[in-house]
Structures are given as C-alpha cells and as structure tokens.
Symmetry: C2
Subunit: 206 residues, 2 copies
DNA sequence: TCATCTCACCTAACACTGTTAAGTATCCGG
DNA sequence: CCGGATACTTAACAGTGTTAGGTGAGATGA
C-alpha cells in the first residue's frame, strides 16, 4: 500500500508549510513578536495543530536556526578552494557580514541570543555545514604556514578573534541601529576596513 | 511642614527598593525571567504597586539600563587623563570587557537587545556619562595626531570598529558560552590579543 | 459492507505574562 | 472632625505558550 507513504508525505508537507510560515514571520517581525496563533492563522490551522508537528515553539525555532546554520555553512564552503588561508579569512568575514545583512532576524536568533541546543542531525565539525569548523580549519592552516605572529598560535583563539570582529559590527548595528546618537557608517564598508585591520594586526610581518 | 519632604523621601525610598530588587533579579536571572509579580514579592508589595512608581516594565528596565550606562561612563572617565590616545584606547577596551564580565545580564540588555530609548535625563555626549562619547573623543584625538593609517580618517567609523572588536568577543561568549563545540578561550586573554591586534592594524606605521 | 482504529485537527481550557480599573485604608491639612 | 490626596490591594483583562479531551474523516480488517 502506498497510502502510508502518502500519509507521511502529506504530514511532511504541512510540517514544511508551518516551518515556512514561521520562517517568514520570524524573519520579518522577529521571533518574540510572532505568536503560535499567528503562525497557525497563516497556514489556516489552529495553534494546537502545530504541536502535532513540533514539540513546542522552541523546537520550531531550533529547527529553523539549524537550517540557517547549514545555509551559512554552505555560503562558506565555496571559499574552501581559495588557496591562500589569509585571503580565505577575508572572504569568509565578508560573506558572514553579507549573511547578517540579508537575514538580520535570523542572525539575531542564531548569534545574539542564548538558545537551547544539542540536536543529533546537525553535523558539527563538517565544514560543509558548520561555518565555525571552516573558519577554524582556515586559521589552523594559516598557523601551520607560519602566516601569523608567533604569539597567536592558538587556532581556536584566533578564530574567535576574527569571528568576534565581524560579529561585533553586525550585532551592534542590529541591536542599536535606532540609537540616534551613534552615526552608523555603512556596514559593508566598515567591515572591509575592520577585517583588513584585523588581518594586518595578526599576520607575521616579513 | 516637612511632611511633604518626608512623603517625597519615602516615595523615593520605595522606588529605590523596587529598583534594587529588580536590578538584582535581572542580573541573576535575566530580564525575561523576572516577572513583575516576582519583583513585587521581593519587596513585599503587589505587582500593581510597582505601577505607581514606574510606568511599566520597560520604564523600569530603561531606568536600570541608563544607570548602567552612566556607571560604564564613569568607569571610563578615569582614563581621560591618559595622555596617549592609543594607549587610552587600549585601556578603554580592557575596562569595557571587565564591565561585561562583571554584569553579563546588564550587558545583555544594554548592548545585545533592542531597547526603546530617548529619555531626557541621560546626558548624551558628556564623556562623564557617555562611554561612547569618550571613545569617540579618544579616536578623534588619535586621528588629529596622525596616529592612524590615512584611510582611517573617520572617527565615528574607527570608534565603531574598536567597539565592535571587544563587543564581539564578550557578546559571543555571553550568547554561546553553552555551545560545547566551541572551545572558548579566556575572555580577558583573548581581549588583550584582540585589542592589540586591532591597534596594530589601525596605527600608521613609522 | 461495516465495525474499528488511527491520526490530523479542533475546542476549550490552564497557567502564566504585563497591565489597569476600582476599591480601601491611612495620613495630612484645613 | 471632615475632605482629599496618596499608597496600596483586589480583581480582572487580554494576550502568551501549552495541553487534555473530543471530533470526524479515511484506512484497515473481517
């Protein structure tokens, strides 16, 4: 009987429908502002129906966030073929900023709020999915090639420094863009300068 | 009659009592997790009583945040006498990190979440209260002295770069310290390296 | 064909938020 | 001693996430 398969497929479809609606509403209005009832309305169900497909709102969010993490990882994977690790570092930084500009609400949830974690289906350490793994790998390569100053020999630490320098820019602008006292400069332009400065500051001079 | 004064003083005292309770509960459990009723319980009042002293929860939060901003500004003001603007930049960065380590929950509200703004009693631009103003002033001085690379001639932009580099570190650790995959290095140590790298990357080489 | 069962979904409620309208008691000024 | 301001409480409201129990359509097995 193909009916079992059809049932499963239909179930998967409404699951996706809910997920898509949630994704869009989260992205446009933010996570706090979108209620379970509103998501349900959008897909013409009752709020309670969502709980047949997702354990709770957190599960819905986590699933979304993880697909976003995978998307970010796949944004980065195209840089794997860039030979020079320092140049790769630059490109990763710029792509990271671009991602944040495109999906600020998702970025907020991914990197600016504490979220519960630990699900099995996210392939941690696989550079095709895990952006941090690729960053770490790149930095490790740079250290191996002796490209960085001798005191900066801890890959994890160096990765965190580079990550933080771009995260700081985008997250501050996301959080405080309404503050009239701060005259924010163009995020992309500032990022370029910041990444370049950081790289100048960490590379071993000839 | 001193009774008016006494009344005012008593009112001010309970106001402070509420504020203190809120401050402590926000700091230990976070803002979302502390409810108006819980704050009221702590000071042995009813939740509704708080609304006689503060317009709403946001007003309570804002008042807290602003006193925190002032505290941060006063942390920085002691560096005003440091002659060398570049060295001053370093010290400000380190003090900023220290502040974040001391009050992570307050830091979260101050710099990691969008908050409503625009209150009259916060003296924006006064370096004694406004940490950003001091940072901006320091960077401006450095530019005036020709200490930075010629392309980095926008004080606001440069200030944002420096700010972001430390904010990135502390905010990432606050948000993702539970992530078992990331091996966080000591925040103070990483900050020193990061600030030094950033400064190396922005100063004009002789 | 028909009883049964499964499963997707709904209705109605719960406990919990922040918030407010209305009432009460206390204290002060006349 | 009266009237009114003031500080607080009680009780409720609307909104949140969440769940227990019911409903009804479609598949299953005799």
């Amino acid at each position: 009987m193909g009916t079992k398969e059809r049932r499963d497929r239909e179930r998967q479809e409404t699951r996706e429908k809910i997920l898509d609606a949630a994704r869009e509403m989260f992205a446009t209005h933010g996570i706090e502002a979108t209620t379970m009832r509103a998501i349900a309305d959008r897909v013409e169900y009752t709020a309670a129906a969502i709980y047949h497909h997702f354990k709770d709102k957190d599960a819905l969010i986590i699933e979304m966030v993880h697909s976003d993490f995978r998307a970010l990882g796949q944004q980065f994977v195209r840089f794997a073929q860039v030979a020079d690790p320092v140049e790769r570092l630059r490109l990763i930084g710029l792509a990271y900023v671009e991602f944040a500009i495109e999906k600020p609400h998702h970025y907020t949830v991914m990197f600016m709020t504490r979220t519960p974690y630990c699900e099995p289906d996210f392939d941690r350490g696989n550079p095709e999915q895990d952006a941090y793994a690729l960053l770490l790998h790149t930095v490790t390569e740079g250290i191996g090639q002796g490209r960085f100053r001798p005191e900066l020999n801890d890959a994890e630490q160096l990765a965190q420094m580079m990550w933080a320098s771009v995260h700081g820019l985008v997250s501050l602008q996301i959080a405080k863009c309404d503050d009239p006292w701060i005259h924010w400069r163009d995020l992309r332009a500032t990022s370029v300068l910041s990444i370049d400065a950081m790289i100048r500051g960490i590379v071993r001079e000839e």
